[in-house]
């Protein structure tokens, strides 16, 4: 069974550019969440989607946006990139938006802004 897949795995962008990161959840999972992990810190919540609707948003600027498609895959978009956006972006999927069994994470997209 395929796990959570994210693309691309690595990306280098220039300040001011726009980036789109993609995530395919585990088959049957309807909830997708996005996290940003800066070096030396734990992952920080960005967005959660369930059944194509936004269920939660973290403390990130409006430059960050996301959406979920009918097949439950998701995109994270970041506009006007800043050097501080350099991080590992993680996607996580689950059956339900809130549960004890944990989320399954993908391996992430390493974004470097230069």
């Amino acid at each position: 069974d395929a796990g959570v897949t994210q693309s691309p795995t690595h990306l280098i962008k220039t300040r001011g550019q726009h980036v789109t990161l993609r995530c395919s959840p585990i088959s049957g999972h309807k909830s997708v969440s996005w996290y940003q992990q800066v070096l030396g810190q734990g992952p920080q919540f960005i967005f959660q989607y369930y059944e194509k609707e936004e269920r939660g948003r973290g403390n990130f600027p409006d430059r960050f946006s996301a959406r979920q498609f009918p097949n439950y895959s998701s995109e994270l978009n970041v506009n006007a990139l800043l050097l501080g956006d350099s991080a590992l972006y993680l996607c996580a999927s689950s059956n339900l938006p809130g549960l004890s069994g944990g989320y399954t994470f993908g391996s992430g997209t390493r974004l470097t802004v230069v």
């Binding site: 734990g42 269920r55 944990g102 989320y103 994470f105 993908g106």
Partner: protein, 111 residues
Amino acid sequence: DQQVKQNSPSLSVQEGRISILNCDYTNSMFDYFLWYKKYPAEGPTFLISISSIKDKNEDGRFTVFLNKSAKHLSLHIVPSQPGDSAVYFCSGSSNTGKLIFGQGTTLQVKP
């Protein structure tokens, strides 16, 4: 406001001994606490969780203890194995499903 704190950035133990990773939290609204393990170049992997109404949960070599009055939880790994060497993240979850992570503790298990 850091709702989940892991005050020890690193821990080194000998193979076969016990590893104890600690975590403190401030948010009383968490209904579950979850531990994740992360290897380099991989995403976090779910390890074990505990409900806020429990004080202990055990799964094989892994046991999590919750002390609600102290707002403290700990993960015990017995016996520790070299393959356990990784970064361990403590997290809290409310009914929204959003996970709040600590900064992580790097565990090194020496053969």
